[in-house]
Amino acid sequence: MAKSPEEEHPQKAFGWAARDSSGVLSPFHFSRRENGEEDVTIKILYCGVCHSDLHIVKNDWGFTRFPVVPGHEIVGVVTKTGKNVKKFKVGDRVGVGVLVGSCKKCDSCQQDLENYCPQVIFTYNSLYHDGTITYGGYSDAVVVEERYVLRFPDNLPPDAGAPLLCAGITVYSPMKYYGMTEPGKHLGVAGLGGLGHVAVKFGKAFGLRVTVISTSPKKEDEAINRLGADAFLVSSDPAKMKVAMGTMDYIIDTVSAVHALAPLLGLLKLNGKLVTLGLPDKPLELPIFPLVLGRKLVGGSDVGGMKETQEMLDFCAEHGITADIELIRMENVNMAMERLAKSDVRYRFVIDVANSLSQ
């Protein structure tokens, strides 16, 4: 008796969805709920393509519900506001990131850490309060409760700013939480993709010395001359790695493939901190001796709460930080996914939804 995606809600909607774990996306008619008292309706202008979108459409993590409309780096314009909405008015430029709901009562929610709520609702592929599946930003419009909508600063370009809503907060939040912001300290960024390139920019904005750690020597020019990193370390070069041992205060590890932590831990000074942000599909090997003898830590982090995400956007507006993007049309999304799988993008695809999504 379940209604079809087109029928389950009163407002027609259109987007691109993956139907199965081939991950191929194609046009998809569905529907959005009525704009409730606490909701805003957003006409989507741009949506970033996050690596998580790729993992989900291919069901890499085993919990995808098809059809799935990905997209959680959404920038758009408010077209409707519910009667209790205070923060926004029609015409405002806004953003929606990785979450669209939570319980609002637990310790995490009370501390503005909705992202760690055990009942967090993600922007796509999650069960909403009304039992329907959430559909993400590869679509024409979205209805979101006010609490989970961000004010998008006027001086941030909406296309290059879209990836901040996931990549940006994913890097900003742990840098603050784990105390990786002391000017003059040395930050290593492992992996130069969507997360990595933003980490370099935040690192410089916090006054850190930044070294990019990568397996590809050809990224060096980009890293130093365009992104502003201070140094580049080829992790597959044992001699260079040896010289760099014990020189970094912090490491942001953005690599999502299974990889060795031991060499990264070796790069850390005593009392150094490694934050791992990538989501490999198998456990990593963690050597304990370096942790014990060097009082080092390995921590995780997962996006950020609404308050901190807003703070991050405002910080980016103040420091002129945006992502480096390749703008694509909706119909090229499958090709973008293929290129993303090979890390062939500098450094985020962003879908020009408003100008290219047509029925």
């Binding site: 760690y116 055990p118 005593l270 989501l279 963690l286 304990i288 942790l291 830590l297 982090s301 997962d302």
Partner: protein
């Protein structure tokens, strides 16, 4: 042209040393340096047997220099002072822990974190400033730079206090550093041995709710009745484990054998911290999803700086915290090592050096 251990320094000393990786200890004559301007010499009364001593005598970490005189939970009575020593006087009760030297000019040294100095010198099996090997506390006399001398209050039983010099600081330091030493926190202690039992006592003194996590149900009574833990979790029991998921602010893992940390990460609340104190030789599996989804961390710690060790001793004195020990004569030491290897001790052996190691052979 190297001098023998007996000849290299002017002051005669006796102790027990391991000669090779069999780890068997036997009487050993050697020598200590003369008391320098900043040195404190003391007559050793007691020395705790740390599990690290067992690892080292058997060269399990591959770094041992033989002959090896272990012992870094050393307590005794001051017999001689260097001319520029202010900290203690003759007759005072003092101790030396894991570290006897560092560079004193790096950032870590300047922040009272000598143990993290890249040039830190261990109390035994390490190379001292003068190029000679350091010998530890299974010996009759000890000399150390004033900076590395800890003071014990008169009312503290020296034998039961000796293990604080390694086991005590090893649990105290991370409880403070990782923000777990606060009333109301729920702390888990994995493994009930030398570190574990002292971990329970300190965590309770900080006002935490303490759960002992163990694979042996036989330790339950001890944990609850004797050590004052609030609860006991049998980690091999799936039901108990599941009922406790997401309930711990911090967990101190004192187990050095290979084991899975996945269930321990599951026991942590969001933003919880797993602190590794035992060091398994091989890497452990780190499940990344739960670490990220709950913003959890896995960290390590080992002993602490000199300032903090003194602070810990004073705290222990104030709260009547000492180790639970079995006092043994020096010639029992090999048997003690065998029993230690099987975890058969409640919970630290302490060698009664003063009464069993003759000052001259």
């Amino acid at each position: 042209m190297a001098k023998t251990p007996e000849e290299e320094h002017p002051i005669k000393a006796v102790g027990w040393a391991a000669r090779d990786s069999s780890g068997v200890l036997s009487p050993f004559k050697f020598s200590r340096r003369a008391t320098g301007e900043k040195d404190v010499r003391f007559r050793v009364l007691y020395c705790g047997i740390c599990h690290s001593d067992l690892h080292m005598v058997k060269n399990e970490w591959g770094t041992s220099i033989y002959p090896l005189v272990p012992g870094h939970e050393i307590v005794g009575e001051v017999t001689e002072l260097g001319s520029r020593v202010n900290k203690v006087k003759v007759g005072d009760k003092v101790g030396v822990g894991c570290v006897v030297g560092a560079c004193h000019s790096c950032e870590n040294c300047n922040n009272d974190l000598e143990v993290y100095c890249p040039k830190m010198i261990l109390s035994y099996g390490a190379c001292y400033y003068d190029g000679t090997v350091t010998y530890g506390g299974y010996s009759d006399t000890m000399v150390a730079d004033e900076r590395y001398i800890l003071r014990f209050p008169e009312n503290m039983p020296l034998d039961a206090a000796a293990p604080l010099l390694c086991a005590g600081i090893t649990v105290y330091s991370p409880l403070k550093y990782y923000g777990l030493a606060e009333p109301g926190k729920h702390i888990g202690v994995v493994g009930l041995g030398g570190l574990g039992h002292v971990g329970v006592k300190f965590a309770k003194a900080f006002g935490a709710k303490v759960t002992v996590i163990s694979t042996s149900s036989s330790k339950k009574d001890e944990a609850l009745e004797h050590l004052g833990a609030d609860s006991f979790l049998l980690s091999s029991n799936q039901e108990q484990l599941e009922a406790s998921l997401g309930t711990f602010d911090g967990i101190l893992d004192t187990v050095s054998a290979m084991h899975s940390i996945l269930p321990l990460i599951g026991l942590l609340k969001s933003h919880g911290k797993l602190v590794m104190l035992g060091a398994p030789e091989k890497p452990l599996e780190l499940p990344v999803f739960p670490l990220l989804m709950g913003r959890k961390m896995v960290a390590g710690s080992a002993t602490g700086g000199m300032k903090e060790i003194q602070e810990m001793i004073d705290f222990a004195a104030k709260h009547n915290i000492t180790a639970d020990i079995e006092v043994i004569p020096i010639d029992y030491v090999n048997k003690a090592m065998e029993r230690l290897a099987k975890g058969d001790v409640r919970y630290r052996f302490v060698i009664d050096i003063g009464n069993s190691l003759a000052s001259s052979n």
